[in-house]
Subunit: 418 residues, 2 copies
C-alpha cells in the first residue's frame, strides 16, 4: 500500500472549485453541484466557484455564428461565447440558493479579470478580486463565469477553450486559496487512458513538471495553461470527479520525499499530422526562416526533427495539429523555392506516443527500453523527441493502442501506486 | 386618398432601429436585418440598433431557471435573462460585417445604461452614451443589447419584458435621433386586430395619447412604457415590419392639422378577470384601504367601478390580469371581515372592449353610440370606464369578436385613412 498523498487541506479551507461543462450540463447536474457545495460549506470550508458553459453550449454558439456570418470578428465572437458562462453562473447561483447556500454570480468583468485585447484567446493582465472577497466576507459563495474578462479597451474577452481552469487558478492565487479543485468528468489523471489499457491506474499525486509534459504530450485535462499558471504561482491543483466526488489526483510541487517512479504515465496523441520538407540546403537560418513564418501564421508546431546533413542538404520534419495541416503545407510550399528545398510531403495517419516521468532523469536506460519495446512489437518509429522527463515517438496511427499497452506493461504502471 | 403622413425624416437621418425577437429569430432573419441596415447606410443614414433576444429564447431561459431551482433571486434571473440579448447583438454585429457594414455590439452596461436595483424590472436612471457616440463618429453601427443595464450596485439588470422598446427610445432621446423605429412582426398599428375584422386598416399616424390609451386597452405593441417615455421626451416612433419593410405607423405629438377621426381604433383585451366585492359599507377610506393593499401586493388593478350607494352599502368591481386573480381574491377575502363587506365574487370569462380616439373629445355622442351598438347586437355591458379619449366596456368573453366587429363597422373605420 502506498501512503496517502501528503498534500491535504486544513479542516477549514478556502477552496476554489471549478466545474466544467459536463458537470453543469443539465438542471440535475447543476443541482448536484449545488448539493456538493452545500456539503463543503457545512464542513466549514469557504468556497469560490468557477463555472464553464453548460454541456455543448459553446459548440452550439460557434455553430450559430457560422450559420449567421462568414465574417466573425473576435470581439463579437467573445461577446457571443461568454453568454454561455453567464447563463451557467446564474443557474448555479439559483441552485445554491435552493440548497440553502447564499451566493451571487459574477461575470469575468465583475470578478475583476482585466485582460489584453487579444480576442478569442485573451491573456489575464490583472485580477482585482475585491467583489469576490467582499462576497466571501459576507458569507456568500461567489459563482464566477469562467474563461472571461474585460479588456483594457473595456470590451468583453474570452480566454479560450479550457480557459475556465485558468480563471480558477488565477482566483486561487489572488485569494490565497488552499487549493484549486478542477472538477471534471473523469476521476483524476491516469497512468494512461483507461479506455485503451484496462490496467490503467489513477495517479494520486504528480508534480507540475510531469503534468505539464503530459498535457504537452496530449493528455486533454487539465488545460496546459492552467497547469503552467498553477506551477508558476504554486497553487496546488486537485483534479477530481464531479460525478463520484471521490478524491482525485493532486498536482503539486515536486517533493523530495515523493516515491520516485521511473515512468508515471503513457500518453497518446492522435490529433497531429506530420510535415516533411526534403532536400533543404544545410545553411544557417533556413530552418529559422521557415518556423518564424509558421509561428507568424499561428501554426502550432510541436515536434521538430532535423536529420543529420548529407551532402549539404537535410530533411526537416515537424508535427502540427491536423486542423492546421493545410495552412502549414501552404506556407512550406510558398517557402520551398525561396529556401531551395526539394519536396514537401505530409502524413496524417500518425500518432505521438509519450512516456513521462521525473524518475527518468536518474535512469538513463529509459529511452533504450522504449525503443526496444516498440521494436519488439514491430512498431516502427518515424520521429523521436525527448525532454528531461519525457520521451515521445511518432508512429503509425493504427499502432497507437498497441504501443500504449506494451509501454504501460513494460514499465509495470499497473503495479505502482503513486 | 389621404395625404402622406406629415412626419418624415430628412434624407440623411440618425435612426435608432429596434428589432424584436421574431425579427432575429434565426440566422436567415438576422441576415435580413443586416441587409436592411446596409440599405439604410447606403442611403446615408446613421443607424443605432437595439436588439431583443432571439425568438423564444427568453421563455426558454425562464423555463430552464424553473427547472433548476425553486428559488430564483432577481439578481440571478437578470444575469440569466440578459445572456439572451448578448447572444443576439453579437450575431447581428457579425451579420453586419458580412453585409459590409462596420459595427460593434454593446451590452446594456457598455452602452451606458445605469439603472436602479429593482431586479427583473429595473428603471433607467441615466444613459451615458459616450461609447455609442464614439462608434457613430467612427462610422460604425452600434448594436445595443435591449432591456438591460447596470445597477447602482454594479449588478446586471433587466428592464423587463418589452424593455427593448424602452432601451431604443431612451437611446433615441439621448442621441437626439430623428426617429425611433420599432421593427416587429406586424406592419404597424391597426384600427383593430386584422385576424378578427378583415376590414381592419393600418393607421398611418396616431398621437401619443391615443397610442397610450390603446396599449392600456390591451393593444400588445408597442410596449406602453416605451410610448410613455417617447411621449415625455418627444421622440417620434415608427412602428413597422421587419418582414415586409414597408412604411408602418408613426406615433407622434398631436398635430392641429391632423385629420381628426372621431374613433381611431377598437381594441379587445381578453387577458383580464373581474372581481366584485358586494355589500361594502359606504364609508370614506374603505375602498382606499382595499386598493392600497392590492397595490402593495403588486396586483395590477385596471378598471374600477363603484355602483351608487343604496342603503349605506355599495358594490365595488374591478378587473385584474387573470394571472393575478387568485392573489386578488385572497386579499379581498382577507379584507372582507375588516371592511364589513358581504361577498367576494369573480368572473374569468370576460373581455374588455375599448374604442379610442382623440376626436371623441369634441363628439359627445360617442359613448351613446357605443352602448346602443352593443345593445342592438345583444351584447350585455357588465362594467364601463372612460377617459377623455377612450370608452371601455367589460362584456362576456365569447362576445368580444362580435363587439369588435360591430364597433369597427359603426364608426366606419374600414373607410377612414389616417
Amino acid at each position: 500500500m502506498s501512503s496517502l498523498p501528503s498534500v491535504s487541506v486544513s479542516p477549514v479551507a478556502l477552496l476554489v472549485q471549478k466545474f466544467g461543462g459536463t458537470s453543469v450540463a443539465d438542471p440535475t447536474r447543476i443541482r448536484d453541484v449545488a448539493d456538493h457545495v452545500a456539503r463543503c460549506r457545512r464542513r466549514g470550508d469557504e468556497v469560490v466557484l468557477v463555472i464553464s458553459a453548460m454541456g455543448k453550449e459553446t459548440d452550439e454558439l460557434l455553430r450559430l455564428a457560422h450559420e449567421v456570418s462568414e465574417i466573425r470578428p473576435g470581439r463579437e465572437m467573445d461577446m457571443l461565447i461568454t453568454a454561455g458562462e453567464r447563463k451557467a453562473v446564474a443557474l448555479v447561483s439559483m441552485a445554491l440558493h435552493a440548497a440553502g447556500v447564499d451566493s451571487e454570480s459574477y461575470t469575468g468583468s465583475q470578478a475583476g479579470f482585466l485582460t489584453d485585447t487579444n480576442h478569442t484567446n485573451a491573456k489575464i493582465l490583472e485580477v482585482n478580486a475585491d467583489r469576490i472577497r467582499e462576497a466571501l466576507d459576507a458569507g456568500r459563495v461567489p459563482v464566477v463565469a469562467g474563461s472571461q474578462g474585460m479588456s483594457t479597451d473595456r470590451d468583453v474577452t474570452f480566454l479560450g477553450r479550457g480557459g475556465s481552469d485558468t480563471t480558477a487558478v488565477a482566483l486561487a492565487k489572488v485569494l490565497g486559496a488552499d487549493a484549486c479543485e478542477l472538477y471534471t468528468d473523469v476521476s483524476g489523471v491516469f497512468t494512461t487512458d483507461p479506455r485503451v489499457v484496462d490496467t490503467a491506474r489513477k495517479i494520486h499525486r504528480i508534480s507540475f513538471d510531469e503534468m505539464l509534459e503530459m498535457t504537452a504530450a496530449g493528455c486533454p485535462k487539465p488545460a496546459m495553461r492552467s497547469v503552467e499558471f498553477a506551477h508558476r504561482h504554486r497553487v496546488p491543483l486537485h483534479v477530481r470527479s464531479a460525478f463520484t466526488w471521490e478524491v482525485g489526483t493532486w498536482v503539486t510541487e515536486e517533493d523530495p520525499d515523493m516515491e520516485e517512479a521511473v515512468i508515471r504515465a503513457v500518453v497518446a496523441d492522435l490529433s497531429e499530422a506530420k510535415v516533411t520538407v526534403t532536400g533543404v540546403p544545410d545553411r544557417p537560418g533556413i530552418a529559422a526562416n521557415l518556423f518564424r513564418r509558421l509561428a507568424d501564421a499561428d501554426v502550432n508546431v510541436d515536434m521538430i526533427v532535423q536529420n543529420a546533413s548529407e551532402g549539404g542538404v537535410t530533411d526537416i520534419s515537424f508535427t502540427v495539429p491536423r486542423l492546421e495541416l493545410d495552412q502549414a503545407l501552404q506556407i512550406c510550399e510558398d517557402k520551398r523555392a525561396e529556401i531551395g528545398a526539394e519536396h514537401v510531403t505530409s502524413g496524417q495517419r500518425i500518432a505521438k506516443v509519450s512516456v513521462v516521468g521525473a524518475g527518468m532523469k536518474s535512469n538513463p536506460g529509459v529511452a533504450a527500453t522504449v525503443f526496444e519495446t516498440l521494436a519488439n512489437h514491430e512498431v516502427n518509429i518515424e520521429m523521436i523527441s525527448t525532454s528531461a522527463i519525457r520521451i515521445s515517438c511518432v508512429i503509425a496511427h493504427d499502432q497507437a493502442d498497441r504501443a500504449v499497452q506494451v509501454l504501460h506493461d513494460v514499465f509495470e504502471l499497473e503495479k505502482t501506486e503513486f
